[in-house]
Amino acid sequence: MNPLILRTSVRIHLYLLTLFSFYLLIRGHNEPGGGFIAGLLTASAMVLQALAFDARYASSLVPVREQTLIGLGLLLAVGTGVASMLFGRPFLDHVFHHTFLPFLGEVELASAVVFDIGVYLVVVGVAKWTILTVATGRAGQSGPGS
């Protein structure tokens, strides 16, 4: 296959898959989907990029350090729990509130969604980092040391 066609189609794939993964993430509370699936989907989009181009390019598409992604994701997840504690509620007690967003229809602004976004970020970070590390046999963007 012509590498150009491959690359173009893969790039289109990337945008489509990423969009789709956001969709899966948001609707996950009501339909099949959720943070894991969305995260894994985004990760496989990046794997495609890595196969079509190279690992470094693929990783540069998400210009955030992997460890930051993971850290932030974990922070969001545990943060919802801590937040509920700060409000005097039991740990990880989620609140939700229905609202209407354009294009997506009725969506609830649930702290559970924040939790799920955390999951998503962790999965993306982990998948990206692991694949890059194994693919290059070396560190990804984050070299040792600060």
Binding site: G33, I37, L40, V47, G71, H94, G125, T130, V134
Partner: protein
């Protein structure tokens, strides 16, 4: 009597400061330390004449939950020991200041000595058996440290270990006996147990209690066959031998027998066991002493022998025996303590303890020689020294056993006389052979008497030897009778005699002396004769054999099953699972209920499952790694397809994604791994593997079937179905469970993922080998101590960022 408690604690409290004191005061530290035992000695002297069978006590709750309190009681029996501990302790502390060279670590030495002193005082004043045991073990530890004081010598290290192992073994006996007593008598307090004496004697546990307790006593007091540690302990500096291993610690076993006798004694078991062991020990100790050429070893065996003489006195339960025992404890401490110090002086002056290289010492060091002679003759039981006084009593006690004379008690008496005869022989060696005759001074040209400070201890002790021999009445009431009373728990009014009283005991003494004299005159032939009679079984050989055997067993065990092969380890686990589940199923006995509750299956599902099965077998069978990977991903895909069929859309999606990502990972990783070679498994091994694998598969299938057939309770998941929307605000129940109902699981799970990513990164990136190693694993080739490489490594380690 809180002062009693304070007196026991004082050495412990002061001990930790000694090393610091040593750094300040240097060699004079000994005199400062001596203040402790001297003042304690004075304190205990104050009790003289006050105490008999009625103790003074002190009690402080410590661990009432376990029945262990700080309860102390001092009676005449304990007082005798306390006086020995502090009195001889004072002399030894002063003596050691001269004995130990300027380069010795006196700080540590006196630290250990003080700890020992406190512990020993604790042993003889504790009223709670567990408390007694605690102090008992501390004496073992202190003795270990003191025997090993010259730890650069192999024999010190070896002797220390042996002493520790054997005495601690006995200690465990005491502990176990104490707990059994608690089970039977409901208390650890001796005074409380005395009230329940009948229950203890009647209990079926009485025999094990006695045997375990005696194990403790025999090991500590070096009774045969546990005597082997005491000669080894002679590797300690001589002051230690004088203090711990002749005057005090080795008498702790005797103390224990004496202390427990009112509770456990009075039975044939008690009396005959102790007497038999004692009699054998008297004989064996003396026999072995004669064969020694090292003066300290000779003294060590003689101590063994003498302890065997005293021990049965506290098992008899008669007044005369109690008195004899009490008197001989004191007397033995005086002459043996003196002898050890004197041998130390001789060693110090002539640099040898080999009696073949010594002779005519009287000319060179007359004071030492005279003192040695007097002390040795006292040990032989020569009138009018104190050894004679107590030996007469002992023989008399042996002739009046508590259950009447029988063939056994006569045998004990004969052994005792033979032992005494041999005692006479080696005492004459000490008194005569090294002091007179041709001058032989070991390595020294002109040995001479040591400074007065060093002689202080021996002079005082030999003074006592003479005083108590000539006029024993001075100690009769306040010490001997008081101690006997304390031991008997009733007032004893016995009498000692300083002049020979015609009778059977005197006859026995004379026979022993006569035989001994004859033997000494024919010493060489006696020695030769003794050398012929080598015991078949050496207790030492047993000890060494046990250690060596365990060592071999250990190596064998590790070699046989710790193969280092993952295969074996997995197989062990599986075998344990098979065995465990088999046993559990067999033990529960109930019949299995196999009423299956099955859902219908569609054709598509059947095909999917068939593919999964085929794929799984293919993964296991394929040798070509790419083929195996393909088969593996087919299995994964089919599993996710199965999830779709089984109404699990979220699972199907996740599995699909995970499958693709892990396939990519495997493919990437495979680049770094070599191709799989043909395996040369033997047919047998392969069959074993297949059998194990098939068994494991069958087991899991069985568990699944069993679960299916035993749905004992309805599931809680109905709650999730009902509340997903109202409580979780979502209609995808699985997702709501994940983020809401069981959000903690998810939190943990993404943490696992995060850690995995960190790990992968760190594993790949951090390569120790390329930049040297910070900490080497132990299996590396040994690096010499002065290897420049290791120096460089240390330099790296030293710098902290």
């Amino acid at each position: 009597m809180s002062s009693l408690f304070a007196s026991v604690m004082l050495p412990f409290i002061l001990a930790p400061w000694v090393p610091a004191l040593y750094r300040k005061a240097g060699r004079r530290v000994g005199f400062l330390v001596a203040v402790v035992p001297v003042s304690l000695f004075v304190y205990y002297l104050g009790f003289l004449g006050e105490l008999g069978s009625e103790p003074v006590g002190f009690r402080l709750p410590w661990i009432p939950l376990l029945g262990v309190d700080l309860s102390f009681a001092l009676d005449g029996f304990g007082l005798l020991f306390a006086l020995l501990i502090t009195g001889i302790g004072s002399l030894v502390v002063i003596y050691s200041t001269y004995y130990l060279g300027p380069r010795e670590d006196l700080g540590k030495f006196y630290l250990y000595i003080l700890i020992f002193m406190g512990a020993m005082l604790g042993v003889v004043t504790a009223d709670n058996i567990v408390l007694l045991y605690i102090f008992w073990e501390i004496t073992s530890v202190a003795s270990f440290l003191l025997i090993g004081f010259w730890h650069t010598r192999e024999e010190s290290r070896w002797g220390a270990l042996k002493a520790m192992m054997i005495t601690v073994l006995g200690g465990f006996g005491i502990l176990t006996a104490a707990v059994l007593l608690y089970v039977v008598g409901g208390s650890f307090e001796l005074s409380a147990l005395m009230e329940n004496r009948e229950a203890v004697l009647a209990s079926p546990l009485y025999v094990p209690i006695v045997l375990l307790l005696l194990l403790g006593a025999f090991t500590k007091s070096a009774q045969a066959p546990f005597h082997i540690w005491l000669p080894g302990a002679m590797a300690a500096p001589t002051p230690v031998s004088a203090y711990l291993h002749s005057a005090t610690m080795v008498k702790a076993g005797i103390f224990l027998v004496g202390r427990m006798a009112p509770l456990l004694g009075g039975t044939p078991l008690w009396y005959y066991t102790v007497s038999a062991v004692g009699a054998v020990t008297v004989f064996l100790g003396a026999f072995l002493a004669i064969r020694q050429t090292d003066l300290k070893a000779l003294l060590a065996y003689s101590t063994v022998s003498q302890l065997g003489l005293i021990m049965p006195m506290f098992a008899a339960g008669t007044e005369v025996a109690a008195l004899a025992g009490a008197a001989h404890i004191l007397n033995h401490a005086t002459f043996k303590g003196a002898l050890f110090m004197l041998v130390g002086i001789i060693d110090h002056e002539t640099h040898t303890r080999d009696l073949r290289r010594l002779g005519g010492l009287y000319k060179a060091m007359p004071v030492t020689a005279v003192l040695t002679g007097i002390a040795a003759l006292s040990m032989a039981g020569v009138w009018p020294l104190n050894g004679f006084v107590s030996k007469e009593l002992i023989f008399e006690a042996m002739l009046h056993p508590p259950f009447g004379p029988d063939v056994w008690t006569q045998a004990f008496a004969v052994l005792a006389v033979l032992g005494s005869a041999m005692t006479t022989i080696y005492c004459l060696i000490l008194a005569h052979r090294i002091n007179f005759g041709k001058p032989r001074y070991g390595d020294a040209e002109h040995p001479h008497d040591p400074p007065a400070g060093m002689l202080l201890g021996p002079v005082l002790l030999v003074g006592l030897v003479v005083l108590l021999g000539v006029y024993p009445y001075i100690a009769e009431g306040p010490i001997f009778n008081a101690a006997a009373s304390g031991h008997m728990r009733e007032e004893v009014h016995g009498h000692v005699h300083n002049v020979p009283v015609p009778g059977m005991p005197l006859a026995m003494s004379l026979i022993a002396l006569g035989l001994g004299l004859w033997g000494y005159r024919h010493l060489e032939s006696v020695r030769r004769a003794f050398d012929q009679v080598r015991p078949r079984v050496h207790a030492n050989a047993v000890y060494d054999g046990i250690l060596a055997g365990l060592d071999r067993l250990s190596r064998w065990m590790v070699r046989v099953h710790m193969t280092g092969l993952l295969r074996d380890y997995i197989a062990y686990i599986l075998l344990v699972v098979f065995l465990g589940i088999g046993l559990a199923a067999a033990a529960s006995g109930a019949a299995f209920d196999l009423r299956l509750d099955l859902a219908p299956m569609t054709f598509v599902e059947a095909v999917v499952i068939a593919l999964i099965i085929a794929g799984a077998i293919a993964v296991a069978a394929f040798r070509h790694r790419l083929a195996a990977i393909v088969a593996l991903s087919i299995v994964g895909l089919m599993v996710s397809f199965l999830y779709v069929q089984l109404r699990a859309p979220d699972l199907a999606l996740t599995q699909l994604m995970v499958e693709s990502i892990s396939t990519v990972l495997i493919l990437l990783a495979v680049r770094y791994l070599p191709p799989l070679p043909k395996e040369q498994d033997t047919a047998r091994r392969k069959a074993a593997d297949i059998a194990l694998a098939a068994g494991a598969g069958a087991l899991v299938a069985f568990l699944a079937l069993m679960t299916n057939a035993n749905r004992l309770f309805p599931s809680i998941s109905q709650y999730f179905v009902e509340n997903s929307k109202p409580l979780g605000g979502g209609s995808n129940i699985v997702n709501v469970i994940l983020v809401d109902f069981r959000g903690v699981d998810t939190m943990g799970e993404i943490t696992v993922l995060g850690i995995a990513a960190l790990s992968v990164y760190a594993l790949v990136t951090l390569r120790q080998r390329t930049r040297g190693r910070a900490e080497r694993p132990v299996d590396d080739p040994p690096v010499a101590f002065d290897d420049p490489r290791s120096a460089a490594r240390d330099a790296r380690e030293g710098e902290m960022p």
